[in-house]
Amino acid sequence: MTTKRESVAVTRLIPAVAQSAPDPAARRKPSSNPVERVTAVEMGARQREISVSEFFTKNRHLLGFDNPRKALLTCVKEAVDNALDACEEAGILPDVTVRLEVVPIDGVTAPATQATRFRLTVTDNGPGIVRQQIPRIFAKLLYGSKFHRLRMSRGQQGIGISAAGMYAQLTTGKPVRIISRTGPRAAAHFFEVQIDTKKNEPLVHESKQIDWDQPQGTQVTLEVEGRYQKGRASVDEWLEQTSIANPHARLIYHTPEGETKEYVRAYHEMPPSPREIKPHPYGIEFGMFLKMLQDTKSHTVAGFLASDFCRISPSLADEMCKAAKVTPAMKPRDLKGSAAETLYRTIQHTKIMAPPTNCLSPIGEKAILSGLYKQIKGEFYTAVTRPPAVYRGNPFVIEAGLAYGRRSDEQNKPEKPIAPKAEGEHEEDDVELARVIRYANRVPLLYQQSACATFKAVLGLSWKNYGVAQSRGALPAGPMVIFVHMASVWVPFTSESKEAIADYDEIHKEITLALRECGRRLGLYLRRRERAASEYRRRNIFELYIEEVVEACNRLKGGKVPKEKLKKQLQHIALSRTGGTKTDEVLGKTGGGPEGLPHSIIVTESGVESEVSVASESGPEQASEASETRAGHRDEAAGGGSPSESKSGGSKHLNRGQSPGKPTAKGSRTGLFGGWTDGKDKADQALSWSAKRAAHARRGTTA
């Protein structure tokens, strides 16, 4: 990682601080009550610089540390985000281990759900961090590599991991411990650092070389106050959702309860590396514009416009200066007040080309499918990546996905033992609502769902058009997970805590278009399934009653009926009257691909139909295969396809259980629809094995 890291002025980042700094008396409305008046001198005596750490203490909630439960999640999130960002930037398929342990208090280790103090350790196989930088990264707020550029990444403000470190320091007094190694030939360094909260500067407690069993990467350990609880908005949920949107990553999670969950790598290609871009003039606010005028290295206003923004050519810069009656050769630092404002307005009213979009790295339809399939049990999966679009000068891409239904083995599994029903009793059908999982730059958003543009777009869509029930103003009903991802160099959040995406028209429209396409495919699938299922139901009805009729006939005839023969004869008639083998085919019992449903996976009783290879894990023996796949895709990309256009040819059908099951995948699919059974896991293992073989066979023929 070569990008320079530097300190960021606080005022640029936190409006609350910026606003409190100037003399507040000047802005104060004249009060009618003279008794309350305070002189400027008195106030001046109270005005002083606010240290960031002080600011943090008072505004923890802005950074996601409002309560112990959320704080624990935020710490995990900041560390894992950094690990994934660093790996991706360095072109390494991420291997991230998260370990959450209960810290004993006075020698007593509380059960995880009652404990108040935790040790969090996150280890990655990324590029590592050079020794000199370590203290500032982990013990200086607003220090990072990602703020001073417009590039898509998880972290943005250089406030993440150091804020977590600050939280640790404030709640347990323990320093942040770091191990980092930049390569097998470099030494591993161990650090213990804390923040000098007055000066916002690192205090190094310990710094030494150590032996580390890992050739490369970084390990961060924090000791924090927190609460561990499963369920909604939990660490567990966040990691699971992270694994859905990052199927190229392998995550291992040691829970505080002593379990180990492994989220396998289901997709073996690195996401295309996003390029850095300069800001587009439409996306800059006036205050920022003024700041940029001060900071620029250009000597003329025209030069500043042409070099510090994208899509402004020197001639366009001249033109705009003239239109705003600003001398193009004027020094940027001298442009102030109304003249600056006129230029700013002129720029906003000039037609300027949309920003380039190669700075974005969408997940991609195939990767989304792999992620959904890996973690969510369903019958139907689909994914859509929209072409790039722009809001306020910021390019963005919307991606949506759907996982629908219950896996058939789950359907057949009786939830309760069959109890004869009494008169007036019925099977109660509880209404299950769809679940929305939201992402910004591949990071799951777990809070403030109803404020989020993605959620609003889901509610706004008429799901009834696609055969899914929906009551007014509610989520669609059914066993369904709706996935929405926004990738952008600058994701507009509704608040500092980055929990919900702001509902810009352009963004809303793109989300709607993506969801609509997913819905349309789901509708096709449901209709097709319904047709086959009704035939199947007919046959089922007959099969159900044949037994009864045969028994009744036998009793009527005094027990002298050849029962088996009569049953066979009747079953034969039933089969011929319910579409026979044709129904089997539609039901996916015999084969056939998911025609007309691009980028979809359909799971049936006997197998998986898909265009993408699903759920295969890269064990050591598969390493070469994985790189092969990656190379293949590089070629394809070079062929001119944008990520969303690239499609793999053909579809295939995998028969579950046909191939000898070699247990390789340990995918802990906690399943959003319910629990797993042991027998099920075996079937999945067999599946992933056969998927790999099929993928291998295909490559063999095209080579």
Partner: protein, 367 residues
């Protein structure tokens, strides 16, 4: 079940025939199909000459391999099986017991063979009509819901029952009154008065109306059950007694009378053994309130359903006689219906002492 080899009854043979039908169809890869006569107005006709409703020829196919019918077909077989069991065991049973006997959860499912008795009752009627077997022959009895009092002597299971010596409660009419089960040993009455309501029957019995007018008082507590209708028919046929029907003055009362007289639409095939074409409608007539000076305030306003039902009755062929058209029209024009109980407005014993004596004296009835 009995082990001794007995000759199967004709009904049992018919029931076993259903199993044969299934076996033969399966043999030929055909869909097993039962032909069930349709039990609806569309499939009955009124035989003017005989004065009764007769069932037409229209039949409905019930096939096993038809999604809409599969369950009913299966249920039909289960009921047939239960009925055959009754035949072999020489037992009689109720509709409700048949329901419980045939109800179970189908193997490997949550589904019951029958969910309510409403599903099994019509199947029994289906079998009655398609096998042309009376319910009594199927050994299925209805509730005992009738009473009789008067100068008649029965033999019931060897017991002598003299209905003139049973106080005001009388004898409870069994649901099966075929000669094998109930013998009419002696009868000296001059006529039978079939009363719709138990309350009015009580009034007449308490007042010993039957002794004074030498008649038999019979009631079915509402729509007379099969046992009551069949007994009236036997008294009429075997002892040549005229039958007079006394009902409330409302469309339901008219209908009760018509069922006694020419049979029901639902089980039209039973008219042969149930209908009494010569039965007379003695009251309450829509002309009575005026003739007997009943005040308007003891009438009840006809509701929409009453009016619709009355108009429907006017369209039945057996109500086409001018006198009947006038009778029903008069009710509709007055907009009121009257209960028999309303006669008490004049005097508690008005029915016994004034109304009926005058009716009989004036021979004021409708045919």
């Amino acid at each position: 079940m009995t082990t001794k080899a007995k000759k199967p009854t004709p009904v049992e043979k018919k029931l076993v025939g259903l199993a044969d039908l299934v076996i033969q169809a399966a043999e030929r890869s055909k869909d097993p199909t039962l032909q069930i006569p349709i039990r609806a107005l569309s499939n009955v006709s009124f035989n003017e000459r005989k004065g009764m409703i007769e069932m037409g020829e229209k039949k409905q196919a019930r096939s096993f391999f038809n999604v809409g019918m599969a369950k009913k077909f299966m249920q039909t077989m289960l009921v047939a099986d239960a009925l055959a069991e009754l035949q072999r065991a020489e037992l009689t049973t109720s509709l409700r017991e048949i329901y419980y006997r045939t109800k179970h959860t189908i193997k490997d499912s949550h589904e019951n063979t029958f969910d309510t008795q409403d599903e099994s009752d019509p199947i029994i009627e289906d079998l009655e009509v398609s096998l042309a077997a009376l319910r009594e022959e199927l050994h299925v009895r209805a509730e005992n819901a009738g009473s009789i009092v008067g100068p008649v002597v029965f033999g019931d299971d060897g017991d002598r029952v003299d209905c003139s010596k049973l106080g005001k409660g009388g004898y409870s009419v069994p649901s099966i009154v075929e000669p094998e089960y109930l013998e009419i040993r002696r009868c000296t009455a001059d006529f039978v008065l079939l009363v719709e309501k138990g309350t009015q029957w009580n009034r007449l019995s308490e007042d010993k109306f039957w002794r004074r007018y030498n008649c038999i008082l019979l009631t079915g507590n509402g729509q007379p059950p099969r046992g009551v209708r069949r007994l009236a028919r036997r008294l009429h046929e075997e002892w040549r007694l005229p039958i007079y029907v006394l009902v409330d003055n409302d469309p339901w009362g008219y209908y009760i009378y018509s069922v006694v007289k020419q049979g029901s639409i639902n089980l039209a095939f039973e008219s042969q053994r149930m209908a009494i074409p010569k039965a007379k409608f003695i009251g309450l007539s829509s002309a009575d309130p005026e003739r007997y000076g009943l005040p308007r305030n003891v009438g009840i306003k006809l509701n929409d359903k009453d009016m619709a039902r009355a108009k429907e009755l006017m369209n039945y062929q057996w109500f086409k006689k001018p006198a009947w058209q006038a009778e029903i029209k008069r009710m509709l024009t007055s907009g009121l219906k009257y209960e028999l109980d309303a006669l008490a407005n004049k005097d508690f014993q008005y029915l016994t002492k004034q109304y009926l004596p005058r009716k009989l004296r004036e021979r004021d009835w409708l045919d």
